[in-house]
């Protein structure tokens, strides 16, 4: 069975082609193409411009996928697209393309709407072979701690206000850190030069956490950062030890604080469900410091951490194809008529018919 996956819920347009050979064999990735819309410096990506980007690239990418793999439409079993959650206009523009392709290729009753978060989880599981992990899903719009039980991915904890990726993006904007290749990536690089730990608001409530306090704090103080370690202006921000704070120090402090919160809520979920594996998915999951911290925590619990690289943790089409094909394999079908999209679509709404009841 071969599936085409189309993803465009945020600023990445992804096209993937996956094959599931016989039962029990690992999936084969035939193609995984992506094109990213970068908002102009100093701003975030907006729905209208993002949708336009997806519309203007999708035909090219789908054609390229077929050419590159030599697969013909007649070999494809189903078309999988992101049903949600995500930004309305970009989601719709990709769904329109999915319907069109389905009609052109005679697959109008084999159109599978996929939950974006479930896509991330299933791709992460397929790549890392983590069988039943606690999942930390961290991206621009989501921060969730998830564990599987009784045919659902259940949300144990989440960010109560803004998502971690959103927090990083807005932090970058407040400090004039560029959007290309990604704000979070640039923060990570800058943080490597930071030394001083600034005392930032640390907010964990059980398995939930909150980032808006930190963001407000940073936005209020960004213009009092030192230009370098020797900046002697009197009004500069200082640590408790009286050292001036540079942008690198603040990036370092931000990462140390917010990632500690994420690792802590993940550890709470692992203790509560008795899990030893943890899988990190979503765009923020590429961050190597986060992966390292999670690894240290897991090791202290006698467990292990699983993560993927940017090909899979950043939004992509292959994960949509993977989750869609798993559903297709259990008999799930969809038609052009009921192929809607939805901006809000919780991870625990999806029936996970392809896993055993207890994992």
């Amino acid at each position: 069975m071969i599936a085409l996956g189309l993803e465009g819920s945020a600023n990445k347009l992804g096209i993937g082609l996956i094959s599931h050979p016989a039962q029990g064999k690992p999936p084969i990735i035939l193609a995984n193409l992506r094109h990213t819309y970068h908002a102009p410096p100093g701003s975030g990506f907006l729905p209208k411009e993002t949708a336009k980007h997806h519309r203007s690239w999708i035909v090219r990418l789908v054609k390229q996928t077929l050419q590159q793999t030599g697969i013909t439409p007649s070999q494809i079993s189903c078309i999988c697209y992101t049903k949600g959650p995500g930004m309305g206009a970009p989601l719709q523009s990709v769904a329109v393309a999915a319907r069109t392709i389905a009609l052109l290729w005679g697959l109008e009753d084999k159109l599978i709407g996929v939950n974006h978060c479930v896509g991330h989880i299933e791709m992460g599981r397929a790549i890392t072979r983590a069988s039943n992990p606690v999942v930390l899903y961290v991206s621009g719009g989501n921060t969730q701690v998830i564990a599987y039980s009784h045919y659902r991915y259940r949300i144990f904890g989440e960010a109560l206000d803004i998502a971690i990726g959103n927090c990083l993006d807005r932090f970058a904007r407040a400090l004039n850190i560029p959007n290309d290749p990604a704000p979070g990536y640039n923060i990570e690089q800058l943080a490597k030069g930071g030394k001083e730990l600034v005392d930032l608001p640390y907010a964990v409530k059980g398995m939930d956490c909150s980032f808006s306090g930190i963001l407000a704090w940073v936005e209020g103080l960004a213009d009092r950062l030192a230009s370098d370690e020797n900046d002697s202006r009197a009004d500069r921000l200082k640590t408790e030890e009286g050292k001036v704070v540079t942008p690198a120090d603040l990036c370092f402090s931000l990462q140390e604080t917010v990632f500690a919160m994420l690792v802590e809520i993940t550890e709470r979920a692992m203790a509560h469900v008795g899990a030893e594996q943890v899988l990190i998915v979503g765009g923020v999951g590429c961050n190597e410091r986060l992966q390292q911290m999670m690894g240290l925590m897991a090791r202290e619990r006698g467990g292990s951490v699983y993560a993927t690289d940017e090909r899979f943790c950043i939004d992509n089409g292959i994960m949509i194809a993977q989750a869609g094909l798993l559903a297709y394999g259990t008999g799930v079908r969809g038609t052009v008529e009921d192929s809607e999209t939805t901006q809000r679509f919780r991870t625990d709404e999806v029936y996970i018919g392809w896993r055993e009841r207890d994992g």
């Binding site: 819920s9 945020a10 992101t82 949600g84 959650p85 995500g86 930004m87 974006h116 978060c117 991206s139 621009g140 719009g141 989501n142 564990a147 039980s149 009784h150 659902r152 259940r154 949300i155 144990f156 989440e158 998502a163 730990l197 005392d199 640390y202 964990v204 409530k205 059980g206 398995m207 939930d208 140390e256 604080t257 500690a260 690792v263 802590e264 550890e267 709470r268 203790a271 509560h272 469900v273 008795g274 390292q292 911290m293 999670m294 240290l296 925590m297 202290e300 619990r301 006698g302 939004d315 901006q343 809000r344 679509f345 919780r346 625990d348």
Partner: protein, 264 residues
């Protein structure tokens, strides 16, 4: 879950070379829990050690450990004084990262429910049974008491609530029928533990969020028993002045949770 990884006890519990090292009972969300004795050899205690977390920056780690041990000790003392059932606190040292409290003979609600829901009959367990509803009711009562004295727990899960079981193991359990045996695991006083994230508050919002956290923990950990939580809330609602307002607030909190936009 006790690991083979060698954990070292904090002083003074590491000193005695004559007695064997106390057993590690479990690794909680943050702490290692040992069963040992303190003050007198016949006083069993739970020793909760928060070892340094190597993933955390040392400054942040020290700050959080101190704050949580202090919060836990303070709230345990307050609860005890005001008649909320919690383990008595016997000592603490935030520099070394430990807190010692009364040993509770029993199990977590998580284990009790798992045992009830899974044993032999699988999902057939009767959720209207008196035993299990009684237990839910007793949870409602202790939560109401806790909130009533102005404490919000901050980390309510079924792992942080215990049932104290008075009988020692093997006390004639074998002679009971299967059904009676199952019900037995649900008997006993409900004890609240793990106050590291507790705060003092009388705000409806804080109380409602406290309940919401537990409701979600219930739904996600014991999906077959989701309906049981209603009984916790029903009894909670009748147990102190002001509870009804909190329950109305809980509806808002739920709505907010569900409505939260989830952009991929």
């Amino acid at each position: 879950m006790a690991q083979s990884t060698t954990h070292t006890l904090p002083p003074p519990f590491n000193s005695s070379s004559t007695t064997p090292k106390p057993p590690l009972i479990t690794q909680g969300a943050e702490a290692l829990l040992y069963k040992t004795t303190y003050l007198t050899p016949s006083t069993p205690i739970a020793l909760k050690h928060r070892p340094k977390k190597s993933y955390r920056h040392p400054t942040l780690d020290t700050r959080l450990t101190k704050a949580r041990i202090l919060a836990e000790a303070r709230v345990l003392v307050k609860c005890k004084r005001e008649g909320v059932v919690v383990p008595a606190v016997l000592g603490a040292d935030w520099e070394e990262g430990w807190l010692a409290c009364e040993w509770i003979e029993g199990k977590t609600i998580r284990a009790a429910l798992d045992g009830y829901l899974k044993r032999d009959v699988g999902e057939e367990a009767d959720l209207r049974g008196e035993g299990v509803r009684g237990l839910m009711g007793r949870i409602g009562v202790v939560l109401a008491k806790l909130h009533g004295i102005g404490v919000v727990h901050g980390d309510l899960t079924t792992s942080n609530l215990m049932v104290r079981q008075l009988e020692r193991e093997g006390d004639g359990l074998e002679s009971l029928s299967l059904g009676e045996n199952r019900e037995k695991g649900l008997e006993g006083e409900v004890v609240i533990i793990d106050f590291g994230l507790a705060t003092q508050s009388v705000q409806d919002e804080d109380r409602a969020v406290d309940l919401y956290v537990l409701e979600r923990a219930f739904g996600s950990t014991h999906p077959q028993a989701e309906g049981l939580f209603e009984e916790v809330l029903r009894v909670y609602g009748e147990s102190y002045k002001g509870a009804k307002v909190v329950l109305r607030r809980l509806e808002d909190v739920r709505l907010r949770g569900r409505k939260k936009s989830m952009i991929g």
